[in-house]
């Protein structure tokens, strides 16, 4: 039987096109590596730090000067296909429980859209969309070394372990409106640091298998003997998932607005392996505005409640309402940046254990000058001042009102 030339050429054409497709597809996966190395010189005038089981709000305490390797982090982004990316960030940080551990590991789905509607999602371990300042490699900030009070807490006790979906509408002029929601787990202990240690101000992000210090000698062991001596930020205690939902709006290159409501839906009467489940809910709002004369304004606010323990006469063992707000103003002049931020915070309690004091209020200022050279070398000069009043300090024979100051010089290499 004779095979017609046209049939043969049809087969050949199909073979060639499919070969071409597979050869072209083999350009995936595509890898991109980013990272940072952060060296510091610090002068501290503060109370013994919470990292040393105290109630000082910085990462370091006492009166001292020291030089240290503050952090080394690497982010590997793998483009798996036209719509899928995988991102993993691992870091070493001074005082971290495990020398090398993960801060984020997730898959991102972002299909192209030829309509104004855009859909996307993330699956894995990632920061909830709260901070508008931590927009740099490994969640660093281009404005300051030290995160705001709100973002410090996000770094310590908040991570989404689950899936997030986002839908947005893009206008022709570059504006966009979006809504998002996520289901999450492994965030049951969030709130424990706020209730027992209060707000803090630093640049440490908790990692997957991290252990964070709890204050000693303030009565935690007395009132909660089952509580372990440290808190594990990312564990699942009661098997109940939580969620957050919110929306965002953007005016291209100028205004960015984001708000979300979070509820980990924890059963506050459960405990596992020395870790209580804390029912934490909060409303977070953020606004970033690019103003004329190279000025940027970033403002965030948070208002929430955390509850833990059994009920007695209508009250819980721990019931603390927390709030915080920050306002940052930053100006660039070429490769120079000047930033000033004011933080304000407080915690109130209404539980049946006033002896386990959660109450506090305070405010602080952070001033930073940084210079970036050749896109990668960044020198930072920063001073952070905090003035806080926490009643629980009297357990440690400290005045409840404390002023703390941290001077820092940092060299950061970004790659």
């Amino acid at each position: 039987m004779k095979v017609s030339p046209s049939f043969l050429s049809a087969i050949l054409f199909t073979l060639c096109s499919s070969l071409k497709l597979s050869v072209a597809d083999s350009t995936f996966p595509e890898f991109t590596l980013h990272g940072l190395v952060d060296l510091r010189y610090q002068h501290t005038a503060a109370q013994p730090s919470w990292t040393d089981n105290g109630l000082g709000k910085f990462r370091s305490g006492g009166e001292n000067n020291r030089f240290l390797i503050n952090e080394g982090a690497v982010t590997l982004q793998t483009r798996l296909g036209w719509d899928w990316t995988g991102t993993v960030t691992a870091k070493y940080s001074d005082g971290q429980k495990n020398p090398l551990d993960l801060t984020e590991a997730f898959l991102q789905y972002r299909p192209v859209s030829t309509t104004p509607w855009r859909l996307g999602g993330r699956l894995g371990m990632f920061f909830p969309p709260i901070s508008l300042e931590n927009t740099g490699t490994a969640w660093s900030s281009p404005y300051t070394l030290t995160s705001s009070v709100i973002n410090t807490w996000v770094g310590e006790e908040l991570r989404t372990f689950g899936g997030e979906a986002h839908l947005s509408y893009q206008f022709d002029n570059g504006d966009s409106l979006g809504a998002f929601a996520a289901g999450l787990a492994h965030n049951d202990t969030t709130g424990s640091l706020l209730a027992w240690r209060g707000w803090s101000l630093h640049d440490y992000e908790a990692t997957l298998n991290d252990r964070l210090a709890l204050p000693e000698n303030i009565g935690i062991g007395t009132h909660f003997p089952q509580q372990a001596l440290m808190t594990k930020p990312f564990v699942e205690v009661d098997g109940r998932p939580g969620y957050y939902a919110g929306f965002n709006a953007e005016h291209a290159e100028t205004i960015k607005f984001r708000t979300l409501f979070y509820d980990n839906q924890s059963n506050p009467e459960t405990i596992a392996n020395g870790q209580y489940a804390w029912h934490t809910q909060f409303l977070s709002t953020g606004l970033k505005v690019e103003l004329p004369w190279q000025l940027t304004l970033v403002s965030q606010g948070i208002n929430g409640r955390t509850r833990m323990g059994e009920k007695s006469a209508g009250k819980r063992a721990v019931d603390a309402r927390f709030w915080a707000a920050s306002l940052l103003l930053s100006k660039t002049i070429g490769t120079h940046r000047f930033s000033l931020r004011h933080d304000h915070f407080g915690i109130d309690e209404n539980d049946f254990l006033p002896q386990d004091s959660n109450r506090e209020n305070g405010q602080g200022w952070t001033a930073n000058y940084n210079l970036t050279l050749a896109q990668r070398h960044q020198m930072n000069f920063e001073v952070t001042y905090l003035d806080s009043n926490r009643a629980a300090r009297t357990n440690l024979n400290q005045s409840s009102k404390q002023e703390e100051t941290l001077w820092q010089i940092s060299y950061r290499l970004f790659f």
């Binding site: 483009r79 036209w82 104004p116 931590n134 740099g136 570059g174 970036t372 990668r376």
Partner: protein, 227 residues
């Protein structure tokens, strides 16, 4: 003595006269400068020149020329590309990484996967309007394809200068820039060639502009803050 009116001289004389009458006249140059309210020059301003009479046929002839919109160092080059309606645009991808170009503008909706080393088919921009192009892989990439049915058009350069050659006649000028509120109001938009002087236009431009360039520091490239 030769007679001046002899055929030897008359023929070329008539020929020259005929050539002058039949050939289209020497092209006129319209040129000008564009600056913002502070006097700083503005690049990428598209200047379109439309005849006030219906003589569009002159420039309509000829096959549409294929135009290039390149991807270099994760940036679209050029940032603004004015083209005639019906122009095919190719995306050569001079980078050694993939790009995924797309547009959802009403003027042209498309997506094209740019593999490295494999040339892609051209996209024909068949409707007048502005198409804003992005890359689905690199968020910051941005380019505008300005599709016009005007027979003559040009774009201002880095020093704000522009120049375009047109046949003598009366024309209506219009200006467009992605960061200026459209339409740009012009005081005298009708002019007749030859233009008496270089035209000067001042445009109000947004303070914060999307340049389409990668983020300035490696720190800002290392984290995606968007959804």
């Amino acid at each position: 003595m030769a007679n001046l009116l002899s055929p030897v001289f008359l023929k070329p004389l008539f020929g020259l006269l005929a050539a002058l009458l039949v050939t289209p006249s020497i092209a006129e140059t319209l040129l000008g400068d564009v600056s913002d309210d502070n006097g700083a020059p503005i690049a990428d301003v598209v200047v379109t020149v439309m005849p006030t009479t219906d003589r569009l046929a002159v420039a309509n002839s000829g096959k549409p020329v294929i135009v290039k919109l390149d991807q270099q160092s994760r940036e679209f080059i050029p940032h603004v590309l004015p083209v005639r309606v019906g122009t095919p645009v190719i995306f050569p991808n001079s980078d050694d990484i993939q790009h995924h170009v797309y547009s959802f503008s009403s003027a042209k909706q498309f997506e094209i996967k740019l593999y490295t080393g494999t040339p892609a088919k051209p996209i024909v921009f068949d409707r007048p309007g502005v198409a804003a192009l992005g890359c689905n892989i690199h968020d910051w990439m941005l380019s505008y394809v300005f599709v016009t049915d005007a027979p003559y058009f040009t774009k201002s350069d880095a020093s704000g200068h522009w120049a375009v050659e047109v046949p003598p006649g009366e024309y209506r000028l219009s200006l467009w820039h992605p960061d200026a509120s459209a339409p740009i109001a012009l005081p005298n938009d009708t002019l007749r060639t030859p233009a008496s002087a270089a035209l000067r236009h001042t445009i109000n431009i947004k303070a914060r502009r999307q340049t389409g360039k990668p983020p300035e520091t490696l720190q800002s490239q290392g984290y995606r803050d968007e959804f």
